[in-house]
């Protein structure tokens, strides 16, 4: 799990750092300016990555009460 949770950093880097490198209108992607499409893409990818983190997080593998055993 500890490895998987680093996936959550990708959207943070993508939006906060990556945006600087795609700051242009052309080419349009799905009709959107490139920089807008980039941000929209990271919103979608971010949700997908968080779904992976959520699915693999042992903290939620058990019922709610199993939290104490999960990690420390």
């Amino acid at each position: 799990m500890t490895g998987v949770r680093w996936l959550a950093l990708l959207p943070v880097l993508g939006i906060l750092v990556g945006t600087a490198f795609v700051n242009q209108v052309e080419p349009l992607v799905f009709g959107l300016p490139l920089v807008l499409a980039w941000i929209v893409g990271w919103v979608v990818v971010g949700a997908a990555l968080m779904a992976i983190v959520y699915a693999l997080d042992p903290i939620d593998a058990k019922p709610e009460s199993g939290r104490e055993g999960g990690q420390r």
Binding site: A8, V35, L36, V43
Partner: protein, 489 residues
Amino acid sequence: MNGALVIIGLTAVMALGLGLAARRGLRMTLEQWTVAERAFGGPFVFLLTAGEIYTTFTFLGGSGYAYGKGAPAYYILAYGTLAYILSYWLLPPIWRYAKQERLISQSHFFAKKYDSPGLGILAAVVGVVALVPYLVLQLKGLGIIVSVASYGSISPALAVWIGAATVTIYVMISGVHGTAWNAVVKDFLILAVVVFLGIYLPLHYYGGYAEMFRAIDAAKPGFLAFKPTGESVLWFQSTVALTALGFFMWPHAFAAALTSRHERTFRRNAVILPLYQLILLFVFFCGFAAILKAPGLSGGDIDLSLFRLAIQTFDPWFVGVIGAAGVLTALVPGSMILLSAATLLANDVLRALMPDIADDRVTLTARGFVPVIALVAVYFTLQGGQTIVALLLMGYSFVTQLFPALICSLLARNPMTKQGAIAGIVVGVATVAYVTLTHSTFVSLLPFLPSQANDVNVGFAALALNALASAAVSLATRSAAVPMASRPG
């Protein structure tokens, strides 16, 4: 009186009626707003919990910023996603501690964590200060809707007074017994209206999204990407960071998180809610569509753009439907904000200062604060000039100053002392207040910085000073405390 105004007026009356009818029904305190919603299942929960963020800010502010500023509006799409990712790890430990200590407000959380009632009061005051611009922007939105939908027969100033009176009456009538149904109606109506407009307007006027963006790019080169200076990429980065960190620092968002039934909910929301942000795209499309079709709005008037274009495009009755959705997006959150600020003042400031005060006196005082806060908000609204987005960013600049003290308090061994926390918050808030009131820039304050630094969001820069101040004061007070208490650093 025209068709649009009749529909909007009826909506407001209906909302008041629902509030009155619900007095005995569902209790909806600020703390319970979200919780009540969790009684529903499945997709309903998704719409409702996510719907909290749909206020006048998104509806008029988001479209207005896209219209008037272009690319800078994109930040609104980005910060929610980062905030929800952060919440995956941030909210569960807050929730656990609050449950263990039976805490119900952010102010109590700070007071308990740092064993300092003074810090609790400070947090509550910062919350109220941040909520005022948030309330002002709802009133501004109400004013815009009423004034534009009246086709000019009601002046904006009068419309603001009408809006403020409606919100105040709404809070006074429904009090804490607000109705979840207003929130439900609001969410579905705004969702339907925004998606419809975001699809219809670009197709109707331009024939497609790519055509629309090409036309805008040709007419205003550079408008759809970040500028080299001013609201540049650096501005985007610092603003997204500031608002993502501040997202759950709002007193009402924090309180709502405390009353969740399962900590798992936070993690699941972190997966699902970012996608809901995509509705903002349709809001942007409305604003972008208006650029070439309803040109000429500038300054604080850019927030009018969606309505201007709607009036040009649709019959009055449909303008009324849009206006009705807009009224609810201002009325429901506006009343929550008003209630929240009044409760903070009565329950977290007054009660902390006078611990012996009786419960009914606190409730009475909270009710007394409602019209006072509304009047303060009207005063600032009529001062005018600010865009809705600028107002929300001001609120964020204040409220995010609570973040360093909060995050440190969650560490296994908190490096921050209560003096450090107080010093940091005071320095951060004072910096924001000074820069906002004097309209000064950072480079004029700190001339050794490169001129690029001016693009950094004020609140983010204040956050840096805040962290420095709390670190310095914590170091000083900690080393002073060690010999006395002889405890390890």
